[in-house]
Each structure stands twice: as C-alpha cells, then as structure tokens.
Symmetry: C2
Subunit: 267 residues, 2 copies
C-alpha cells in the first residue's frame, strides 16, 4: 500500500486510469481496435518479441517486478500496475506480468517476395488458434508473408496474437480480397492450393517460390479461387486403400505438413 501511495506521489504515470482500463478492455472487440488502430499483447515473451516487430508501441502496463527484471531498453515508459489492476484489464484466464498496447500495421503484399519465395494465402480461416498456429508455422519455415481473406479471423484479435507466440512480429500478415489479389499476380508465380482433390503433394513437382492457398477444414477453398490455381495438391491419407479414416486434417496441421514439404524440397 505504502509503495503505491509513494508511486502515485512520485510519478502519476504509474497508476492506471479508469479510461485506460476502459480502453484496454475495449480492444478485445474488433470495432474498437479499428477505432483506436491498436491491439493488446500479454505475457513477457510475447511482449518482448513484439518490441522487435513492426508495431509502434503505445503503452506498457507491468508489475514493478517485471519492469525491474526486464533488461532491454523499452521504447516507452512502463506504467506499473498491481495484480488487482492487471486482473481488470487482462483478456487471459491467468493474467501475466505485462500487457502492451501496440499500433496495428497494414502492410501490402510484396511482389518481389512472391516471385522469389513462398507466400501463404488463407481463405476464411475462422478459428483464432488455427490462424495463430499458422503464423507460427510460417515463422518456423521462414515464409515471409501471409495474405488472408477478409473472412479470416482478425490477426489483431487477442486470441490470435497470443496464439502466434510472438511470430506475428516476424511474418507480414496482409488482408486482401483474394480474387483480385490472385488475379493480379501474373503468370510467373505458380499458385498451389491444398484441396480435397488433387495430386499427392509428395509426388508433385513443387517450385521453391509461389503462392500456397489454404482453406478451412469445413469449407475448403472457395469455388471462385480455383480458377487461379495452377496445381491442386492433397496430403494423402495412409494406407491409400483405407475406407474409414478422418475426414480431414486440422487446417493448421495441414498447413504445417505442406510448408514442411515445400521447404524440404527447396533445401
């Protein structure tokens, strides 16, 4: 208690205001993220990873201990808050030591990357955990950009940000209407798609650059996108003559297997 009174007297910035609580809580909703053009991230590793990303840092709320123990210089002063205050603003079930507000960025697809490296395209990935996991996969396999349909869950949704475990700082995530985007990329870039029908990915020639479209488990890839696809791929189940088997793989698992296969061939 004494510590907090002291803190309030010495530095007014170190106490969270009612408006700040309201702001942080509002950022769980997309409309307020769009209004304020910012998002939240929680947990020490995630927040520190994001300090090295493209997102300007607006504010950091943390426990005095976190502030003391964190060695790298931070871009903004830390607002010290108590566990009870963190409890009020966290979107997690078990609050962490630190919560940051960062500004959203809206990158564009990089054409040079598309011609020289792999680009993932996500068609209506609705599950926050799946999107976060796919961004982690892209990061692991050094895939620099991911283009999402407007129907894909918002990358700045706190659940997605947490599920990326910091990878969102190292992968460019772009939202575009996919038909015009795919229509604009030209003939030089091969367009692969993971679909229910197609050739066995393990026995198909794969380029080390191009676009790979992934759809949701439930709906696959939109009919209108198929016209842009130069090669449809499947991940075969095993053994090939089995009748009863899982109907599909989880979308992030399928993404992982496909990305691993592209990189295995290219390496």
């Amino acid at each position: 208690m004494v510590q907090w009174i002291h803190c309030a007297l010495v530095n007014r910035d170190c106490v969270i205001t009612r408006n700040e609580i309201k702001l942080v809580r509002s950022l769980r909703q997309k409309k307020y993220r769009e209004l304020h053009r910012c998002f939240i991230a929680e947990g020490s590793k995630l927040v520190l990873d994001l300090m090295n990303g493209p997102f300007p840092v607006r504010q950091i709320f943390a426990s005095p201990r976190w502030k003391e123990e964190t060695s790298p210089p931070l871009p903004v002063p830390v607002t010290e808050i108590s566990p009870a205050e963190m409890e009020k603003i966290t979107a997690l079930n078990s609050p962490s030591q630190v919560l940051a507000i960062l500004e959203m960025v809206f990158p564009s697809p990089d054409r040079a990357t598309m011609e020289s490296d792999l680009t993932l395209v996500l068609d209506s990935i609705g599950d926050p955990g799946n999107l976060g996991t796919i961004i982690r996969i892209a990061d692991w396999f050094g895939i620099p950009q991911v283009v999402c349909s407007p129907g894909t869950v918002d990358i700045y949704n706190p659940k997605v940000i947490q599920a990326t475990m910091g990878s969102v700082a190292r992968v460019r995530v772009i939202y575009r209407e996919l038909s015009p985007f795919l229509g604009s990329i030209g003939d030089r870039v091969p367009v692969y798609a993971l679909t229910l029908g197609g050739t066995d990915i393990f026995y198909t020639e794969l380029s080390d650059c191009g676009v790979l479209i992934l759809g949701s488990e439930a709906h696959g890839i939109s009919e209108e996108l198929l016209q842009f696809v130069t090669r449809r791929l499947i991940i075969p189940f095993f053994p090939a003559n089995r009748t009863a088997h899982a109907e599909s793989l989880n979308a992030a698992v399928a993404a992982g297997i496909a990305c691993a296969e592209f990189r295995r061939r290219g390496s």
Copy 2:
C-alpha cells in the same frame, strides 16, 4: 407442448429425468467419468462415428428430428429430448441435435503392432485440443495405437473427444507409465523421439515400424525417457542460418509433420 405430453404418456423413456441430467453433467469431470466408467460425445457425425468404435453405447439423447432422419440402426433406443433439455446437458457452447453416453474402454498396447507398424507415444500433452488433433492425425495416417503418459490429458475429457472428430473410434488410445512401457518393448523396435536436439528428420533413415515419442511444446520429453530413445529427431526451421524464428512448432503440428514424413518414406 402437446407433443411432449403425448410423448410422456406414450413412452416414459422419451423424457430425460433429473438424475440423467445430473449424470450427464457430472461426466465433464474426470472423477465422475471414472466412477461411472463412461463419457459423453455430442454432434451427429461424432456420435455416428463412435457407433462403429469399440465403446459400448449406454444412452442416446436426441431431438425427434435427429432420430427420424438418422437411418443406420442404433444399438440402443433414443431418448427424445427438447432443445431446452439439451441445453441443460450439453457441454458445448452451441448444443447439437444429439448427445451420447458411451462406456470407456481401456485397451492394452499391441506388441505385434509395435513390431510391424508405427506407434505414437505422448509424454504429457496437456492441451485437450492438441490431444484430439493428434488422434485425428494418427487416424489420417493409419497409425493404429497411441500410448499416453498418465500426465497427458484424459482422452475421455469431452473437449478431447470433440476435438478427435470421431477419430477416437479408429485409434487405440492407451494410458501407461512410459518408462516401464518403453523398457518392456525390447531391442527390435526402434524408438524415435522429436526433441529440440537431434538429426534432421528429413535426412535421417526412418524405419516403417517403431515408436515415435512426442512431448509438449513447453517441456519437450522427460529426461528419464531419453535413455530409451534410439534416434532423436528434429524438424528443422528454415533457412538454417536464421537467428530469430519461432521457438517451437505447436505439438500437434509437429506430430503431423513427423507422421507425414514417416508415411511418405514408407509409401
């Protein structure tokens, strides 16, 4: 209303009792599943898949429409319930048309399978979604058995059952203390493990039978299990000289990539 009164008069079985509601709700907790030796599954596809699995069916609660539209003969009479009653027993956010109570089974590891096919071993996979997804992966790749450490989340947890999307009917899931289990399998069966250090899975000779141990993202594989491992494997990140990248892949994604690679080599 008239329909329900009629139903109650004609067939007492078609109304759910207070004790049944209590029973179904209790099965969300492991201690009650162990007491009653049964578990719940919800949703038409999942329930119908489970009818073809090893689990004796104890009871089915469903909407009159589901009962009418479901063509395959069911092993027990269906208790028809209203949406309001389903609301009371469901463990899902959006209740489905059908909920079944099934009996748990406790299979043993099959030695012949271990010597002729792939067996997954899971060390402390704590996340229900990850375990369900890994069972789906095993099903997709025709891996007949999965041996779980006691620290792995309960396969009969409703969240795991739902996440398997029916694959639990086609994969034998076994719980064992892993050290004695791995100590008993003999020298003829190679033991692979996905670890942080090891040889590149894509450039390591892989047998088409044996055991593959997978740990959790946070803790990897227990120290005590490493003595049983004949070959440690890694999934390499890309490109190999990168310094900043995701710390790990999601456990289910790593499982998917490893299983795909074993099957690709074997096919």
